[in-house]
Symmetry: C2
Subunit: 267 residues, 2 copies
């Protein structure tokens, strides 16, 4: 899937307006939408798998910082009380036995009464802090989805769930590296500081130009690739661990909440 450019008006949309657009079919990535509002990854699994998933998140907090867990069967969350998790994301993925079987724009017909939904912090949230600190965002400048890669670093398993860590990558000019690390470290609920800077081989990534999810993003001369743990990690766990059923967001197509980024800042 290639990405539509981010509309110029996206940043000034309220979360409600953004969700209404996604509900009515707008399906592009959500980077740059609804300035200052927290975005979330979605993973919904049958109740029988909920403990394993919650424990997997607890054991891998950089990749899977949990912002909310719904009650069984519920499609609502206090993070956006008027939202419907089945319709309000731009695009979903449906998984059966670890295989991707569909990428619809809503999952009303696929919902099950036994689903428990996990909303997991997303690095799009800290991009406003990066931008405010003067750190350029190459993918937003280029109107593309962020680049994401499956690494060779294993997550700590939990029950039946195991899999590799997924990371998002941003090209950062060296003079902005310190600010990029400091700003994101103060936001552990949305992945916190980077897990790796520099040579992609350190994470087992062969070619930055061929991301596993999202779009390739061009570097400017001197840029250093900086890698943050990514909320697509549960999807890699679904692929590796093959639960009978799961619904997730499509990479880069997040749930836009009513929460403000500021409320997740540590100090």
């Amino acid at each position: 899937m290639t990405s539509a450019s981010i509309p110029a008006s996206a940043a000034s949309r309220s979360p409600e307006e953004a969700r209404a657009l996604f509900r009515s079919g707008t399906s592009g990535p959500t980077a740059g939408w609804a300035a200052g509002h927290t975005q979330a990854n979605l993973i919904s699994v049958p109740a029988d798998w909920a403990y394993d998933m919650l424990l997997f998140c607890q054991r891998n907090p950089k990749a899977c910082p949990v912002l909310d867990v719904t009650d069984v069967g519920s499609w609502t969350t206090p993070l956006a009380p008027d939202a419907d998790l089945r319709t309000d994301l731009p695009r979903y993925r449906v998984w059966e036995n670890g295989e991707l079987t569909d990428e619809p724009t809503d999952v009303v017909d696929r919902w099950r009464d036994d689903l428990v939904s996990f909303l997991i912090g997303c690095s799009f949230t800290f991009e406003w802090a990066l931008s405010d600190a003067g750190v350029p965002l190459r993918h937003v400048e280029q109107g593309r989805n962020v680049s994401m890669y499956v690494t060779e670093r294993p997550c700590r398993p939990a029950g039946r769930l195991h899999g590799p860590m997924v990371v998002s990558m941003r090209h950062v000019p060296p003079e902005h590296l310190s600010a990029a690390i400091e700003e994101t470290a103060l936001l552990p609920a949305v992945h916190g500081g980077p897990v790796h800077c520099g040579d992609p081989a350190g994470l087992g990534i062969d070619d930055l130009a061929r991301p596993d999810f999202g779009d390739p993003v061009a570097a400017e001369p001197g840029d250093i690739p900086v890698f943050w743990a990514c909320g697509v990690t549960p999807q890699a766990a679904v692929m590796a661990s093959r639960p009978p059923f799961a619904i997730t967001h499509a990479p880069g197509r997040m749930f836009v909440t009513d929460a403000r980024d500021e409320q997740y800042r540590v100090a």
Copy 2:
């Protein structure tokens, strides 16, 4: 239970030495022991209750920041690989249907194969940061356990678990208040910044001299009472929610881990 004074040598003990002493019967509070090493609250529940407990922790992260969750039946943790969770705390509490039925110094005879153990961050951990920042610790100066109170603030329920937030209180001179808040805010894994400063009535606490757990601690003139969410909160949830069985630490008698406080500092 009144507290023995903290031995002068406690701070310089290694975590292994501290656990060996507790294993052989030393049963006092652990504030001031094993300088710079992370301490943890313990709550062990039957596997049937583990999801509710993990979700309760996720929904109440100030009170219940999870440091580790064991596999079912296991009494070991990566936080201290050579430790035995059944013997290495100074004192335990055994709960049946929400009633406290015993306070033994080990729980080898009470262990069950279906127990899942949660290790939850403890504010004793951040006392080293407070001390390094020049903040006086009245309870340590007075050789007493920290004062803890059941508040009138409800936790967010999770499944069958509900109950009030418990807090620990430290008297802080006003000139040290800023440092106390800043230092602890950077340690969200061990309760983070305070939940309340000043008038105890704001938390529904009638009389600071009559704590619900721990010892009364005398204030110096001008001191302000500062309240942090406390890892005894799961015990209040056990009392309110009455699971058939649980084992916890006794308030103030923590599990001393091999982990260093520094590894939980956000920035």
